[in-house]
Every structure is written in C-alpha cells, then in structure tokens.
C-alpha cells in the first residue's frame, strides 16, 4: 500500500511539478509556523539558521532587526522584499532599542532579531532584563518575536530551537 502511494506521489510530482512544489512549500510553512506564535518570544540558535529566517521573513507585516547589517537583499524573493521592514543596526544595543520601539508601536505582527554575527562578548554583556522587557512587550502587543543568536542568550524565551549545522554545503563543481 505504501509503495503504491509512493509511486503515485512520484507520478504526480512528475506530471504536476508546480502543484507539488506548492504543497511542499505549504508543508514547510506548517512546520515552521508553530515556532512563531503571537505574543511569544522564541530563540533560534546556531549560525546556519538563515533558511529558517528567510522563511519567517516571507510572512506579511514583518520586520527584520539586523544587528550586524548582514542581510543580503539579493537573496530574498521580490514579494518578501516588498513587505519586509529592514532595520540596519551596528550594535546589539541598537538592535534591542529598535526592537523595543517596534514592539511598543504594535503595528507589525512579526519581529525578527538577527544577532548571529555579533560577538558573543557583546551579547553576554546585555542585561537579562532587556529580554524580559521584550518578552512583556511581545505579550502585551501580541507580536511574534524570534531572536536568532549564535548560542543561547535569551534566558526567558518561551521556546528555543537549534538549527542543525548544515555544512559542509554542497559546492558547485
């Protein structure tokens, strides 16, 4: 029975590649959506979480607070570029202040904070109270907040995921 279903899926994928791609995309989104919850602050650790971040950015009404000004806009879909608010910071403290302003504003439903390229020393120097404050603001405004960090820095995160190391990536010959 399983073999028949597998064969049927393969046949459908060959005949209707666009429909299959759409359903795969929907499945991927259904996998990542539970990670972002309204009113919750979650942390995603690991340096190779870029794919996940790009998927979150595809959400409408989203802001990326880029603590190291590291986003490559050419890597984003045109639709994502159109509705993404990009906040380019130079320090972790600037990123925290920017997040504070956006969460108090309450107009955006998703706020992503990318701290991956900031030095660990700078991240550990942030007082833990800032994360509590951001968590409270997220709860009050109903925004989903995801912090992308190189290692665990948010003590009060409602959820934490670690992106697997995907390297060495397949290099083109």
């Amino acid at each position: 029975m399983k073999a028949t279903l597998f064969n049927l899926q393969n046949l459908l994928r060959d005949r209707f590649p666009e429909a299959m791609a759409a359903s795969q995309e929907a499945r991927r989104l259904s996998m990542v959506r539970p990670m972002l919850q309204a009113g919750k602050l979650v942390e995603i650790t690991g340096a190779d979480s870029g794919m996940l971040m790009h998927r979150f950015m595809a959400e409408r009404s989203c802001a990326l607070i880029d603590a190291a000004d590291a986003l490559e806009p050419c890597g984003l879909e045109a639709g994502t570029l159109r509705h993404l608010l990009w906040v380019r910071c130079q320090k972790a403290s600037e990123a925290i202040r920017a997040a504070d302003l956006l969460l108090r504003d309450g107009n955006l439903s998703t706020v992503l904070i990318d701290l991956r390229l900031r030095p660990l020393r700078e991240l550990f120097a942030l007082p833990s109270s800032v994360w509590h404050r951001l968590r409270l603001l997220a709860e009050r405004g109903g925004a989903a907040v995801a912090v992308f960090s190189p290692c665990q820095v948010v003590a009060c995160a409602a959820g934490r995921w670690t992106a697997p190391q995907t390297s060495p990536l397949t290099l083109a010959a």
Partner: protein, 482 residues
C-alpha cells in the same frame, strides 16, 4: 448670459507691439532662422501679404521691412494673468478657455443695464489695463466666443442662428487643411456650412466636422471649466529671538499647525504631507518632507509626527526662520494603499519609523529596493511607507548569505591552484573544500566605475562556508553562508 473676452493677436500683445508695426512672431528658435514658421502676424504686415504659417524667408520676400521677433512665454503668462485678474473683478465664475480667451458666466449677476452697455464697460476695464479686447455677449458660452471674434469692440448675439449666418468660417476653424478643403467646397460662411447635411459632414469630416457644425449652429449648452484659485496651506515665520532647542520650536510649529488645520477643515481637506523648512543663523538649512501615513488634520497627530522627526536633528546654530506647508489631499482618495489599511495605526507607525531613523541614521530603516546592477550592495533603502516600485527581475537561489559589512581583509595560501588556508581576523582556518573561480564584472564602459571580481566559495574545517572575493589583487571575505 455669457461674456467672452478675446485678445486678438495675443502673442503680439504680450510683446507690446504697436498695431502699425510690420511685425511677425516666430514659433521658436529653429536651427536655421529662415526655416522658422510665423506664429502671429501684425495687421499691417498681414495687409502686405504676410500670413501665419509662412517661413520667415517667404514672409520677408513679401514684406522686406518686416521685423521678426521670437515668442516670449513669460510675457504671455503675465498678460494671461492680467486678463484673469480683470475678468475676476466681474465674476468669480469664469473659464480660461485658451491663452487670450476667457468666458464669463454672468448668470448670477443682477443685470440692470443693456447687454451692449455692459460689454462697453467691460471693454473700458480691459483698455484701462492696457489690453486690446473684443467682447462678445450671448446666451451660450460658445456663441459668446464666436461673437467676440466678430466684435468691434463689442458684439451681442441674441438670436444665434440668424446672426451667425453671415460670419466667416475662419473664426471657427483653426485647422488650415480643413479650411483649405472647405474653401474648395465653396464654403465661406457659417450659414453655408450649417446648410450642409449633418450626416454627410460626419461621413466626410468625422468628429472634428461635427464639432464645428455644432459650434456653427451656436454651440451646445455646456458647463464652463471654472478657474479656481489654488489654495496654499503654508505658514512661515521669521524669528526675532533665535530658537535653540526643540520645546519653543514645537510651540511655534503647533501654532502654525492649528491655523493650517483650521484652513484645511474649511476646505474639506486633510494633510497628506508636511513640508518643513528650518533656516539657521549660520545660513544652513534643514528641509524635511514628511508623509502622513494616514492623512489627517488632527493637530496632535501631525504635531507628534513633526516632533519625532525633529528629535534627531542636530544643528550648529539657532533657528531663525521656520516654514511649514501642508500638501492637502481628499480624505476619501487617500485610502488607496493596501498596506496603509493593513496597519493598525499608520500614523503611529510613521512616528516609529522616524524614531528609528533618528536612532540609526538616514537610509538604515525601510524597504530594500534592488538596483539594476550585479555589483555588491546594489540596492537602496527607501521609505517603508512610500508605494513600492516594480522590482528588478532577479532569481534568488542557494543558501542565504550573511554579508560582512565592511568585508574582512583576508590572505589565502594556495596549493595546486586551490586555496588551502584562509587567514582572517588574526585566525588561521584550514580549508577542506573550495569551489571557484567565478568571475563577475560590470560597468566596463566607464573607466572610473568599472569593476571585476573573482569569487570563490570555501569550507573551513569547522564546517563554515565563506564567500571569498578578489578585487584589485586584494582578497576579502565577503560573507558567510547559512
């Protein structure tokens, strides 16, 4: 009742040419003066055979003493303004039909005097302002225009059909080709033209012929395109005691906003944009163009927008001049943006964006728009609330790249044409795999801007994949994938 004011030979009048002068006006500066065509001809020159549309050499052959002038648009605008001012003293409801021609709607005016006397009074007014006018009065606007073209200096047409019958065709038709055709048909007067069957005119001359036919019969009832003065919502203030901090400046601006918002309310408008100009004691200036995300005339909302925008401003000298202008929009027309509707409070969001810009600097908050180039960082950051422009076609693919801005200087050790070690940030990283080179170049047509990159992707022994770029013989790590 309608009155038409017509300034014959408007272009010549603008140049203040005397009627007895032999003068012709050329359209514009042609490459060769003899190729330029005549736009307007004085009466004296016309009597000697010079006609509009001739080249200057043809005209001078007929009238050797002809003086040629070039058209002066600025003078024409001044004369038109003078004409509008004169007609405005008679009625607020008037149409600027074309340069040198205005139609006045006198239906709201109490008429105690005969029409011809009224026309003479109008002519006297125009003469006092140094304008030579012809005044036509009639029941319909188009009929009044025709009357003005045959007036000397005033003409009243009450029974349109009868009065128009003997008028020449050239007062109606400005198209020389059509005039030539009508001349070939033997049509000289409006009466002869209206005698032609309408269906046949439509078949032979099309819509233009039908429009002329209607005009020749006295024109249809039509609404005038009334001239309404442009209302400027602007306040400015020269400050006697220069302002050095935000608090007194905001006090001044709130006063201005209060007055401007009251005027907006009278005009049933809301503020779409705020244009602020500050001049400082050291002659420097600061200008801001603030878009109101959700157009409003709420003083508090607009005041907060101004205050947030000014919080980040630093100046080396006190403020001596303030100017605030509101660009008005209709409230209903401002709700077009889909994104504006999606925000809970667009005005608050605009304030937040201003606060973020004040915190991080200009160009650091907004939407990224790609530029048509393959060069690194070929993008610009635009205001998030501005309407987005169609994006450049691009095909994102591969793993995401985290860019190092600025790129980190690096040194590579090579073995058998492959990089084996990467020295970056005082660290040495052995490379376990490398792929490349890929060459990218652009703007080769410009020696100053031309660029050429050699790109490698390399995996270090800790599993990280980097993008390495060589430009001008210098290696740099441009980013890390992941």
């Amino acid at each position: 009742m309608f009155a038409a004011w017509w300034l014959p030979r408007f272009v010549l009048q603008a140049l203040r040419v005397l009627a007895r002068d032999r003068v012709a006006v050329l359209e514009a500066q042609a490459l060769k003066a003899e190729d330029a065509r005549l736009l307007c001809v004085s009466e004296t020159a016309e009597r000697e055979g010079v006609q509009v549309g001739m080249t200057s050499s043809q005209a001078q052959a007929r009238c050797p003493r002809l003086r040629l002038l070039y058209r002066d648009e600025k003078a024409e605008q001044e004369l038109q303004q003078r004409l509008l001012m004169a007609v405005e003293s008679w009625t607020p409801d008037y149409e600027a039909t074309q340069p040198g021609l205005c139609v006045l709607d006198l239906s709201r005016r109490r008429m105690n005097e005969p029409w011809s006397d009224l026309g003479m009074l109008m002519h006297r007014d125009a003469t006092a302002l140094a304008m030579e006018t012809r005044i036509g009065l009639a029941d319909k606007a188009d009929l009044a225009v025709l009357a003005a073209h045959v007036a000397d200096p005033v003409r009243v047409i009450r029974d349109g059909k009868e009065a128009l019958r003997e008028l020449p065709m050239n007062i109606l038709c400005r198209n020389p080709e059509l005039m030539r055709l009508l001349h070939l048909w033997g049509v000289r007067t409006l009466g002869q033209f209206t005698a032609l069957p309408r269906a046949e005119i439509a078949r032979r001359l099309g819509a233009e012929g039908l429009a002329l036919h209607d005009l020749a019969r006295g024109g249809k009832e039509r609404l005038l395109r009334l001239v309404r003065p442009i209302q400027l919502f602007r306040e400015e203030s020269e400050i006697e005691s220069p302002i050095e901090c935000l608090e007194p400046l905001m006090h001044l601006l709130r006063g201005m906003l209060g007055r401007l918002c009251a005027r907006l309310a009278e005009a049933w408008r809301v503020a779409g944009r705020l244009l602020l100009e500050l001049r400082f004691d050291d002659r420097s200036t600061h200008e801001r163009d603030l878009r109101v995300a959700e157009p409003s005339r709420d003083e508090a909302v607009l005041g907060r927008l101004l205050e947030t925008a000014l919080e980040g401003v630093k100046a080396t000298a006190p403020v001596v001049f303030v100017s605030l202008e509101i660009v008005p929009v209709r409230a209903a027309a401002s709700q077009g943006g889909l994104f504006d509707q999606g925000l809970r409070d667009p005005n608050r969001f605009a304030e937040t964006l201003s606060a973020l810009e004040a915190l991080l600097g200009k160009g650091r908050v907004g939407r990224a728009e790609l530029l048509p180039s393959r060069r690194v960082d070929a993008f610009r950051v635009v205001n998030f609330l501005e309407a987005s422009t169609p994006s450049i076609e691009h095909s994102p693919g591969g793993p995401p790249l985290q860019r190092f801005r600025p790129p980190r200087p690096a040194r590579l050790v090579w073995q058998d044409w492959q990089p084996v070690t990467l020295h970056v940030d005082r660290e040495t990283k052995p490379l376990i795999a490398a792929s490349g080179p890929w060459f990218l170049s652009g703007e080769w047509w410009d020696t100053q801007q031309a660029w050429q990159h050699e790109i490698w992707d390399a995996t270090t022994d800790d599993g990280a994949l980097y993008r390495l770029v060589r430009e001008h013989e210098v290696w740099r790590v441009e980013g890390r994938y992941g």
